[in-house]
Amino acid sequence: MIHGGKSFVSSPPAFSNDAKKLLVCTGNTISVFSTSTGMQITELEGHTALVTAIIVVPNANNVFCYCWTSSLDGTIRYWDFSAPELIKTVDIRLPIFSMVIPRLLVKQEESDGKVANVFAYMSVEDVNVHVSKAKYLRGQLRKCNLTESRLAGGVILAETVQPPYMTISPSGEFFGIQNKRTLYIWKVPGKDYEHAVVKKMKLHHTKNFSTFAFHPVDRIVAAGDVTGRILVWRGFGWRKFSIHDDFNNDGLMKSEDERPGVRENDDADSCSTWHWHSSEVNLLSFSSDGAYLYSGGNEGVLVMWHLDTGKKNFLPRIGSPLLYFMDSPDSLLSSISCADNQIHMLKMSSLEILKTISGIKLPCSFPDKWNGLSSGFVFDDAAGVVAIRTENYRIQFYSLLDNREISEVQVCERNHQPGDDITVAVTLMALSPDGSMMCTAETKLPEEGIGGLVCLKFWVRELQRKDFKLSTIVYEPHRDAPISAIAFHPSSQMVVSSSYGGDFKIWAFRNTTQDTNPVLESSGWTCHAVGSYKRKPMTAATFSADGSVLAVAAETVITLWDPDRNVLVAVVGETFAPIMNLFFVVKSDSLVSISRGPVPQLSLWSMSKLSMVWSYKLHSEDVACADDASSFAVLALLPESPKAVESNGTRIHSTDGIILLFNVGDPIPIVTWSARKANGGGLSFLRVNQSSFEENTSAGKERSTLLVYINGDHEYVVFDPYSKEAQKLSLACQDASTEHEETGHFGYSALYGELPSFEPKGETDQGPILPSERPWETIFNGSSHNLPPLTKLCSAFLESLLEKRTTAVD
């Protein structure tokens, strides 16, 4: 079983100390990427829910690679990410949304030799309070003693409606949150102990804050709001945080009118406003020397403000809303996380992108009028590749087995500006069964009735290279009517496109290479045949597995055609609602149809009897047919129950979909799995080579067919639908906890084999130590922190001696 397609940009990433690695939160795991190659090195696995924060322990000489991570599963874990192994787990049993550890950033003066306690401040969600309360502050800011791995009792710094995102100053002196129109800033006490008084101050603004950042040296804080303004407060907190450093106490106190721009009682010397962004500011970050302020928002433009003069410099056309900006210890390198699931490695001196780590493209949000025009995913089932439409008029090819992007094809030659109205979109695509040809349909919306355009494009994969080359463009293939479906012929070079305008066209590939002049080769797709049935809108089309029958749905009936001679063969049945999708079941004479709308329907038709066999009232998202068996899988949405609506509000992911595996002869499904976020999901069988798959899974079982399920967030899982393991998956999914699977050996274990599992440090005193079975010479071998306490060892040692004597007697 392979999981993949996680978001790389759910939380900010973190650089390692030598800036050669980037730690990225990918769902339940932390992926470590190389910044120089952009490839994944290793993965830290252990969390059972979304990882929300990564804090790399700073280290002067780059020897140790330790990091703290927090997760929604309520644990904080301590890792050595070079090895990769888990060192310590702190369980606080509250979902952690954000965490900062100020202590790590302060220069450690270890004069007394005693290791001080390390405290983490985190924003957690209080799950103990009942939902029913009207004014209910769910977010809490709490403090945790990481050394002793427990929550600091009773210390709640603040309570908010939602768990806030925390920001820490680079010096580790301050941290804060933004809450609506107020910034709360705390000063970390110099000597931190459990009940140390943490001082707080507030800064106010008239708009909601979206993000803020601390200056690395000075007492400057910059905050962005939802309207795109950036406010820069200088000299904040001289009054509130001034007790310990009283030498500058009154000298810097200024009267009210000498503090330009600062709201009434706020504790700052001055406040200036910069406005360039047209919408919400998503990221703010100071450069490491504090001379520049970086800001970015939905425009996809990184703005560099010179802090003293306010002059701007731009890095435009990144192409997607910017989310996070991370400075690396190597001051030349930084990373930008974009909303399209990409992390760009940026060379700061020349402002160019060195590498891009791109994950699976996230679903693009199309306006309602696109609904019904677009299909979800296209699978190249032989190569294990899924093709996904992206927002910037491209198609991304993503390898499901390797969990990485293969290539991208620019379908429309246009620039995408995030935030613009979507007027052009790639609505449909189809891949030929051998993956060598592609067909895409794009639609341009008219402006007040002027200039709408539907365009069909045929692509051919170049032999040497991986990417596709444009072969033929057909403008307005069905007049101005939108295209409802495209399908490739399974064996010959033929494509059918059906339109809502009431006709379908069969396109054939003509390659007329002239012998005399091979340079003037003219190959392209031409219309082979046109058909229509009673001028009804054609809503779906597909070829049968051997290519002898073309099935086109004319709203509620299915028409069967001979594709070569373009002759209507038969008309089948009638459904209640227009058919949206048609699928032939391989190795049988059956056809599956999907209708949606108020009366959803999933029907199986027998082609030999030309009648319906059975039908369910199911809202089906997708159907996948295995190509070597007479079975098919259906992804269906569960009817929404009131309970489900409730649970949506509480952000607990409940199952909303179900995957059913049918055999053709039997209306009762063989297997069922429940699935989450099934709306907008996709399903497909993969025909993958045995060997290539075996490399990826340690389990060496016989696998014939694999089923892949992509959910609405483009996270996917690949599993064998016929194995028993998958049966377990169904149970696990019903528990609404994500299944986790061991995937191969990495790093240390790949070289030296499995490490002996040992208990994490924090729980050593609780767990009983098993006496070793080994002879006494080897008992003391190994590193000291691995050894059990001496009291436990003693008996084992004596026992081993006793054993030795008995053997000697024998």
Binding site: G38, P316, R317, I318, G319, H344, M345, I353, L354, K355, T356, I357, S358, N392, R404, E405, I406, S407, E408, E413, R414, N415, H416, D420, D421, T423, V424, K444, P446, E447, E448, G449, I450, G451, G452, L453, K466, I473, Y475, E476, D480, T512, Q514, N517, L520, S522, G524
Partner: protein, 532 residues
């Protein structure tokens, strides 16, 4: 990752692609024939009855028209369209001028039945060959022979002359009607053919003892207007009616091919050559035929297909092609000569008579470049990569048109106006489509000032009826007229433009209706035809 990390590129607006037709638009051959740039020589009185090129450089050509013979030099630097000299020593209409193989003499027949021989340079009449009782339409020197010529007349007699002695050597009788055409064999000067209105082409041999009968008779089936030997000497081409036929003389006078692509009588044929360096010599010859329907067709008789066809507005009577492949001349029935000249004439080797001097060109010594020399700093910059080198290509710079630059700066109206002023409808359409995608088109229209609006209306008037653009432009025009109704009513010129627009659209509607009517007539016929 698979793709080079880069920010999104800038895409210039692209016009819609035109559909490509299945047949090749321009083969290298049609490109060659198109490279003859036609000049018109007019002002001659009557029809151009014959054209003949001098076999020697500079390949003058002689044209007979009414009672005169004009000699032109197509390579004349200043006035190629003016005759070099005109011989008007004819009492009646002159026919069939023919250069001798060295180009020094020229012979022509005439309505009077007398064959006259002139010196080309001085225009002096040297000999008069009298013997034909009717007009002589055929006078030809053999390919190489300088002493004899043959002629044919409307008295249906073919005569063979000794020019120097002004004596008639042979009478060839056999034709039963006017002899109008003929040609000497390229391989043997003793053999020639004549074509007659009695539908036959006869092959004659002057060595034959029996002068009465021809060596071979070929029946063309129509009155023969012209007959030529093809350069191999084994094939002849005959023109008569609207048919050109190729015959195999060696194989016993078998018809090889019959080309029937002219609509009216083919009046003249000649052999042309595609001046190519590559390929076999025999594959380069083409048959040029002109007809009263105004078409010049180029026929590739080795592949048996027409490779080029061009139409002139006049009925064509005669055609000639210069031996150096630089000039093609066509004569019409009303005194116009179309002279087609290629820019780059194919260089011909100097003939045997030409003197070629041998000079020892001293090889310039290569001096070692020193920093004192300016070229020193440019050395190696124009170095060409040798065959095995791996060339690192510089990324191609995308050239942006002015409207693209303006679009990049989001100056939508300016981009629109700039495209309009450039007057390329493809670009205007591409900009309109781009503006639609940005939802800025109507905003642009409201911002146009009066002059720009006028330009837009003129654009509509010109292109909105064209089917390629009408789908978009019609709706757009309606929208513009609605939005800017007040401004248009305020200005007199704009009202005029709107009126013109209406007129052009009305006309288009009328055309569409008549087309529909035609379709209504045709479709039942097609239906019936399809049923069988």
């Amino acid at each position: 990752m698979a793709e080079e990390p880069s920010f999104s590129k800038n895409f210039p607006t692209k016009s819609r692609l035109k559909p490509t037709s299945k047949k090749r638009r321009s083969s290298p051959e049609s490109k060659y024939w198109k490279s003859f740039k036609t000049q018109q020589i007019s002002g001659l009185v009557s029809s151009i009855t014959s054209i003949d090129f001098s076999p020697c450089p500079p390949h003058l050509f002689a044209v007979t028209h009414s009672a005169s013979l004009s000699i032109y030099n197509s390579h004349h630097p200043d006035s190629p369209r003016q005759p070099v000299s005109t011989i008007s020593a004819f009492t009646d209409v002159a026919y069939s001028a023919s250069f001798r193989s060295d180009g020094k003499l020229i012979a022509a027949g005439g309505e009077s039945g007398i064959i006259q021989v002139f010196e080309t340079k001085s225009r002096n009449p040297l000999r008069q060959l009298r013997g034909h009782s009717r007009p002589v339409r055929l006078v030809k020197y053999p390919r190489i022979d300088r002493l004899h010529l043959f002629s044919g007349g409307d008295d249906s007699v073919v005569k063979y002359w000794d020019v120097a002695a002004e004596a008639q050597l042979n009478d060839f009788l056999g034709h039963k009607d006017y002899v109008r055409s003929g040609c000497g064999s390229p391989v043997d000067d003793n053999v020639f053919i004549t074509g007659s209105y009695d539908h036959t082409v006869r092959v004659w041999d002057v060595r034959g003892s029996n002068s009465e009968s021809s060596t071979m008779v070929i029946n063309h089936g129509k009155p023969v207007e012209d007959a030529v030997f093809l350069p191999s000497g084994g094939l002849i081409a005959t023109a008569g009616g609207n048919v050109v036929k190729i015959w195999d003389v060696i194989g016993g006078g078998k018809c090889v091919y019959s080309m029937e692509s002219h609509n009216k009588t083919v009046t003249s044929v000649c052999v042309g050559k595609v001046g190519r360096d590559t390929g076999e010599e025999s594959e380069q010859y083409r048959l040029l035929s002109v007809s009263l329907d105004g078409y010049l067709k180029v026929f590739d008789y080795s592949k048996l297909k027409i490779t080029f066809s061009v139409r002139f507005l006049q009925p064509l009577l005669s055609v000639g092609f210069s031996p150096d492949c630089s000039t093609r001349v066509i004569g019409t029935s009303n005194g116009i000569i179309y002279m087609g000249k290629r820019k780059t004439a194919i260089k011909e080797e100097p003939t045997a008579g030409g003197f070629v001097g041998f000079h020892f060109m001293e090889e310039p010594q290569r001096r070692v470049l020193r920093p004192s020399n300016f070229r020193y700093f440019h050395r190696g910059q124009s170095e060409k990569p040798s065959k095995g080198d791996f060339v690192v290509l510089r990324p191609k710079k995308v050239k942006l048109a002015e409207h693209d630059k303006l679009l990049k700066k989001f100056r939508h109206k300016d981009a629109f106006v700039s495209a309009l002023r450039k007057k390329n409808p493809e670009n205007v359409m591409a900009v309109i489509e781009e503006l639609v995608a940005r939802k800025k088109l109507l905003k642009c229209v409201t911002n146009l000032d009066m002059e720009e609006l006028e330009e837009l209306l003129m654009f509509f008037q010109k292109y909105s009826a064209q089917p390629r653009y009408s789908g978009l432009l019609m709706q757009f025009a309606i929208k513009v007229l609605q939005i800017r109704a007040e401004d248009i009513q305020a200005s007199e010129t704009l009202i005029g433009h709107a009126r013109n627009l209406k007129r052009s659209i009305d006309e288009e509607i009328r055309i569409q209706q008549s087309l529909l009517e035609i379709q209504g007539i045709i479709s039942p016929i097609m239906r019936i035809a399809g049923r069988r």
